[in-house]
Symmetry: D5
Subunit: 116 residues, 10 copies
Amino acid sequence: MSTQPTRDLEAFPNPNPERDYEIRFECPEFTTLCPKTGQPDFATLRIRYVPNELCVELKSLKLYLWAFRDEGHFHEAVTNRVLDDLLALLAPRRMTVVGEFNVRGGIRTVVEATFP
Amino acid sequence: MSTQPTRDLEAFPNPNPERDYEIRFECPEFTTLCPKTGQPDFATLRIRYVPNELCVELKSLKLYLWAFRDEGHFHEAVTNRVLDDLLALLAPRRMTVVGEFNVRGGIRTVVEATFP
Amino acid sequence: MSTQPTRDLEAFPNPNPERDYEIRFECPEFTTLCPKTGQPDFATLRIRYVPNELCVELKSLKLYLWAFRDEGHFHEAVTNRVLDDLLALLAPRRMTVVGEFNVRGGIRTVVEATFP
Amino acid sequence: MSTQPTRDLEAFPNPNPERDYEIRFECPEFTTLCPKTGQPDFATLRIRYVPNELCVELKSLKLYLWAFRDEGHFHEAVTNRVLDDLLALLAPRRMTVVGEFNVRGGIRTVVEATFP
Amino acid sequence: MSTQPTRDLEAFPNPNPERDYEIRFECPEFTTLCPKTGQPDFATLRIRYVPNELCVELKSLKLYLWAFRDEGHFHEAVTNRVLDDLLALLAPRRMTVVGEFNVRGGIRTVVEATFP
Amino acid sequence: MSTQPTRDLEAFPNPNPERDYEIRFECPEFTTLCPKTGQPDFATLRIRYVPNELCVELKSLKLYLWAFRDEGHFHEAVTNRVLDDLLALLAPRRMTVVGEFNVRGGIRTVVEATFP
Amino acid sequence: MSTQPTRDLEAFPNPNPERDYEIRFECPEFTTLCPKTGQPDFATLRIRYVPNELCVELKSLKLYLWAFRDEGHFHEAVTNRVLDDLLALLAPRRMTVVGEFNVRGGIRTVVEATFP
Amino acid sequence: MSTQPTRDLEAFPNPNPERDYEIRFECPEFTTLCPKTGQPDFATLRIRYVPNELCVELKSLKLYLWAFRDEGHFHEAVTNRVLDDLLALLAPRRMTVVGEFNVRGGIRTVVEATFP
Amino acid sequence: MSTQPTRDLEAFPNPNPERDYEIRFECPEFTTLCPKTGQPDFATLRIRYVPNELCVELKSLKLYLWAFRDEGHFHEAVTNRVLDDLLALLAPRRMTVVGEFNVRGGIRTVVEATFP
Amino acid sequence: MSTQPTRDLEAFPNPNPERDYEIRFECPEFTTLCPKTGQPDFATLRIRYVPNELCVELKSLKLYLWAFRDEGHFHEAVTNRVLDDLLALLAPRRMTVVGEFNVRGGIRTVVEATFP
């Protein structure tokens, strides 16, 4: 099984598609680079969704988040990007992605994006 | 009274069926095996329900949860399974089961399933 | 003034009956016996209500809760019992009783009953 | 400027009367006497309101709360009294007063009164 | 890039204007002077908004808040002022500013203003 | 196995008498009666000791603490009493008993007794 | 039994004078007046001591602390005063009094005095 | 690499044997069976040591702790057993093992064993 | 009474010079400017000391700390400076000053200086 | 001023070399790669030291820690490496480096190394 950073998110069939239920992930190990200064940014990502036909596979999610490590991303854009990528993969009934970014300039930033 | 793991959940008559009220259980000692790797998983299960004619007996709930100890279960499926088993036993007015699973791969997973 | 355990809850006239307002009690010193094993159970009772014409007197509430000390009660039934006794005394506009019972068999139980 | 306990609450014109916004005060230094026993009672008062034409001046609020120090007051009545006094002064759009009283007889009491 | 206190808030185009999502800032380093006594006041400002066409740039927000350091401002007025300035810059879909001011005279004050 | 309150503490042979190691118990369900007023008192008992030849059996400790439920005891005396009883049973190398009693008259009391 | 504020601290014989053990009191309801401004001050007093022949009676301690309510006292002096009064009553083996005073002028003050 | 439970702890050479430094592990996923009742017990193990020539390999420690899952062990004995096994493997300069076991019969047990 | 920032610390005679006791101040409202960038820095200062003949007056301490507001100071130097100024004023038996500075560049800095 | 990751730690003269005082840094944004699997590891580094002639410059420390981001390091070795590098730069009187690494395989690891 590959352990390289990758954008290839994997899904598996929802074992209980007849029921609306919620899956939540807390990912405190998300890091990117600041597109302006090139310096590292750190965040906790929180993802929650109600699956439709597909669920995201946990290990592929880990490798997907790892793939942002050496890229430059703004806080607002990267939170929406993760939401868009997961929506494209899963077509869930509902989904929210929250990015909680560490203090920069004495200010802590949180971005929360929701579908629909 | 038996103290072997068992799927035989027991119920007793709801002492106040004329009233909608809620019963909540917090079970921090839930453990199963990962179906892929065979390694132990650990979770806190939270169960809450509004009983109809029947309430679940506390000791039988403990033995029921114990019965998952040596079996392989995915996070999403086992949370729905506990909900299904309790719905079949109790036919409650409302019920929610939440599984809060320990960190794997730097990510913490929570699954929450509700009837109806 | 008596300081014996007693079921004689006392009430006093609501000083502000023209207004809906809420009174909340947190009672961490509630103890009964398990009806099956005879062993002590411990709970925090939380009571909140919107009074109508009457308020419950605090010291009589303390003595009333004390009266459960040497009696056997199931978690579900005793929580509803406290609600019923207070409803009979006060005829409040709204009332909730929550019993938070200590861990037994690795499981923590909470019962919450509400009128109406 | 006087620093004696006083019932003379002072108000100043709301700087933003065109907007509904909320002001909250947390006052952990509220003390009265028990009307039955004469012994001191202690509470944290929480006040929140949406001002209309007037806001309460902070120092006069401090002196007003101080004026209860040597008086006997029941928990339920004094919480409603503070609400009534502030309503009479400010005629706010909305207001809530919460009194969180220290443990007496093993029981903690909270009273919450709201206008309208 | 300037690092002087300044009222010149800067904005950048919302990267995802097609979606309602929320941005939150926690700014624990806000300080002004009391207009009555000239003494320093300290607050944590919390800002959250749903952007429309524009987002506020983080560094300019820091410099903007810094500009209040040597000015006299009342709690109620300055919280509304920050809201007004950000509304004028961003024309957001929704916005809330909360000012949590340190204890003065034994009382802690919070002001919360929302658009619309 | 008996489940009656009893003073008959039971011991078992220390499995590692060649090594100084510490055993700690936290017992949040300790209750007695006030010898003056007859009203219930509640405490958390903390016991820690370095065993010599004997260890105290956990269930007998539970039944032993239960035996205080209907007796009158002062805070200072009962904490020393538990220490004395355990010293007589175990002859440990070191032992400390701490009684943390709930608030009475606005004051929380802790008693800590140590051997030697 | 009197329930007036009083300086008459009462003692009772130490039930275990042969052993060094510690008694600790946490008293969060201590209030005096500022000798300069006459305004109320609030503190949590923490008292811990190793009794010799005498222990302080809990209710008399409550009434003793109450007697400071209408008097002017500086933080440093009143903490030492409580220590001196208790030393005179009890002649303990060791004693510490800590006064934790609420924020004044943005500064929180703690005074800790120990015998010997 | 095997992922079966195993007693085969693995060590690697201490990269800095010239310096006394401490390594600490927190293992919240330790579970065994009660030797009396056969029911599951749960604990957090805390291990800290100053290595000499060898350090314990993290994955082999995980598999070693897993090997206790289906065995009966008393709290006191199993904590000393883990210490003994690690001492035999590593011959460290200092080592402590702490087992923090979940509540049974209303009592929480902690065992702490240290070398030398 | 002046309320301008000032370096004129005032002292008063220690009311209990015959006893070693400790006075502690927590000052969460300390702010200076960074000497390199001119931007504001924020810290909580903690001061504790055993007075000899003199105690520092609380209000003058507040005005003294205020006087750093518009000056440039490095973390290490300003913490030692406050210690030096208080030593010169009070000649205490012991004194410690701790400066806990807010996060800059993702790093939080604490400086602790002690006499003697 | 460069903002590239770099091993070039910079020092400045200790402003108070005549006094032993302590400087502490908390660095929650430390990340490296696992030398075995290549996957990211995350840690909070805590550094505390008593400077002799030199203090480490904060921004260069940030860039130094950043330089570990794309390198493989074992927990034990990297904590000692940071200590060695800082010792070589500063020749401090005392220094401790603590690495608190995120959970891997259900186990959290902390390494603490001290000079001398």
